[in-house]
Symmetry: C2
């Protein structure tokens, strides 16, 4: 069987062969879908061009008989959790089989063609039942920008370059792209006010992140060594960590963000696997300067040589008026996943270094992905410097923070020499008025 | 049917009629058990004296035919989640039926006697599949003590009396009483050191808390009004929020505690229901002085009149040498749940005030329960004032923080005039050496 990333590989699905598609045969991301508007039990599918290959039906029809029975069973569950529990070798076998089914000249072409569903005819569900959700803070530019607003003389805290800083988020309020985002209410206090007031947030923001889904398990008390950490990463999605900055400023001392973040987190529906990301792994040379050297438990040759992931992450904004006037969404930022100070393997290893147990389907957010350039700032807090420099939209409207009706659209795409580009699809969310 | 708290009620289970039992017929807490050493699917049971009434078998034998079918089904699941999803009225009906089965003169006495399992013959499991775990910081004495160590001039932060401060914890590492607690390793940095080191925590601590389990659901975006919050509390357990103070000091800025806490959280196996706690609800007069008045969304007449819970929480320590020498565990502290600044209903309402969705089986920790007295400090950090004043054990051993082999035992008990006292049972954990 050919290497699944080979540039010469082509699919018999026509829409997968265009240069612009996020989902060529080299990608093969997993998601969970239903026929549009139906209430049927969702099926696992694989995005290919503008289609979805129904994996549950592939298993049912015997297209995966060459694989261990557990793999077919895992494809027949209404979420990706069982796939995420499979050993890495079985995940790779499954990828090879799907690649074989979808490639030009496949003996299963005709049978599989019957098992395609147009993405335009499908509703995509939340792909994973997330057990625990952790959010990191791995962009040094984001940490420096936010720190500058609070402590101009000393923006980066002393622990930043030693500790991959993270905190626990809320799993129950994770929703899939396209779900409404209701403006949260909460306590806020103006600096000069004697007392706080309760009402809708006036400083609602997005944060452009990616989420890493965990594969496999480690028992409580058993750390994952960094040499084994990459194998514990099932794949990646876009993630929008919606944030209410005014609630955050008043509540976050001393235990960190809580209601400012836990009202909604949006993820994109397709999970691009670690295997698909292989051609886009980059060495330390492509990442921010590492100094000091990390402690030994966060260091390995593989992580130095191939620990980063090169991916551009873009954020677009479309106001209600822009949509009414037929104006395309405005790109607000373009940043690079490889600009994170910490790698996904370092984050995962650090998370388990105290014995914390990670389970299949747990989600690790990267934190806001910002770069050193002004147009690489991954949230409005940074882009408008806490409202000082509003963004002007094509309609002339101005934004310090998000208004009701605004839609935020994130896209992610990987490029590398000698590889076919792949994408993550979209992560969308529209702000609805507060119900309070 | 008689009121289930009536002092005149007695059970035909002899061990439930002693004054010292935690589990008289007025209590009726739920848990999940297996016959000792077996690998059978766990059953839901109710503690009564030194016995457990097997609820799954009660349902099977038709002892609950008077109840809606959903109630019997919820009793046949291997955790309490389905019970926690029932409407409040059905939970109260179930309590009345169980009370009827177990009371003196019950027509079902003979049948039910066959469905008793001695607690000494049972292994108790984690009672709930916890979806999300949130930990609060509701003891003003704890917050003041900890704040004093960091900011002697200004111990309590300005938001404390306005915001029921909380943060998200880790659900996967919640374990039941009796499970081992492996000393975590992590990064620590001495104040005078140039760089951190990685190794076993040298400042391992416990925190004496209670946990509130959530009943029912609210949809994402729909806050729970304080008038409805008490009905969303299924019940209460003891909770030990094990904490590595040296890891915490180095990691917690700016996003709060993470690896210092998420290695293990221990809960007691019995969940004492809100219905059983009714006689122990207390008014604001029994709680710390409330000033300023909370914002309207955190205020109701019911919460002022009956928002607190009167319960003593005790912590005992037994070193390995004490056990070898047959010396009883030493009581370290005795504090009072009613001394919390915030009520459970206020915590739950605040948590959902931004639209955050809480699901059946979610767990809300109170935060360390300390009181104003020196012997009412609910963790070693406070008791030894960060190691300055070590505790001396009966063997002459000293403790600034926990040593390997130390067992921490928590107990909780409710007393009120005109009510039969009830207890929470025990929450135990023994420290095992670091595996790093």
């Amino acid at each position: 069987m050919n290497e699944t990333h080979d540039v010469s590989l082509e699919s018999w699905v026509g829409s997968a062969t265009t240069r612009e598609t996020d989902f060529p045969i080299q990608n093969l991301p997993f998601g969970v879908f239903r026929h549009r508007g139906s209430r049927e039990t969702p099926h696992i599918g694989v995005a290919i061009g503008e289609e979805i290959l129904d994996l549950a039906r592939c298993a049912e029809r015997g297209l995966m008989v060459s694989l261990p029975e557990a793999v077919g069973e895992a494809c027949s569950v209404p979420n990706l959790n069982a796939l995420m529990a499979l050993p890495g070798a079985q995940r790779r076998e499954l990828r090879a089989v799907i690649s074989g089914i979808l490639r030009m000249g496949s003996a299963q072409h005709r049978e599989a063609a019957d098992l395609l569903v147009a993405q335009s005819d499908a509703d995509l569900d939340l792909p994973v039942r997330v057990g625990d959700y952790t959010d990191f803070y791995a962009s040094i530019d984001h940490a420096t920008n936010v720190g500058s607003m609070l402590r101009p003389d000393n923006p980066l805290l002393p622990n930043y370059k030693w500790v991959p800083i993270g905190y626990h988020g809320r799993a129950s309020s994770i929703v899939v792209s396209g779900s409404p985002v209701v403006r949260p209410a909460g306590q806020t206090k103006a600096a000069e006010a004697a007392r706080p007031t309760f009402g809708p947030s006036a400083m609602l923001d997005y944060e452009a992140e990616v989420g890493f889904y965990v594969a496999g398990s480690n028992a409580l008390g058993e750390p994952v060594r960094i040499a084994n950490a990459w194998d514990r990463l099932f794949g990646i999605s876009l993630l929008n960590d919606w944030s209410a900055r005014d609630i955050q400023a008043w509540e976050y001392q001393p235990l960190g963000p809580f209601l400012a973040k836990n009202f909604t987190t949006t993820v994109s529906p397709w999970v691009v696997t670690s295997e698909a990301l292989e051609p886009f792994r980059v060495s330390r040379a492509a990442r921010p300067a590492v100094d000091p050297e990390p402690l030994p438990y966060l260091s390995s040759e593989e992580d130095r040589e191939r620990g980063g992931i090169s991916m551009t992450v873009e954020v677009f904004l479309s106001s209600s008026r822009m949509r009414d006037e037929g104006i395309a969404a405005l790109r607000l930022s373009r940043s690079e996943l490889a600009s994170l100070y910490w790698t996904p393997a370092q984050m995962l290893t650090h998370h388990t270094s105290n014995g914390c147990n990670l389970a299949p389907g747990d989600l690790l957010g990267s934190g806001t992905i910002s770069g050193p350039e002004n147009d690489a700032r991954g949230c409005l807090l940074e882009l408008t410097w806490r409202g000082r420099d509003p963004v002007t939209l094509p309609t002339g409207e101005q934004r310090k923070f998000l208004a009701d009706g605004d839609e935020v659209i994130m896209r992610g795409r990987c490029h590398a020499d000698g590889a076919v580009s792949i994408g993550l699809g979209e992560c969308r969310g529209t702000i609805f008025p507060s119900r309070s």
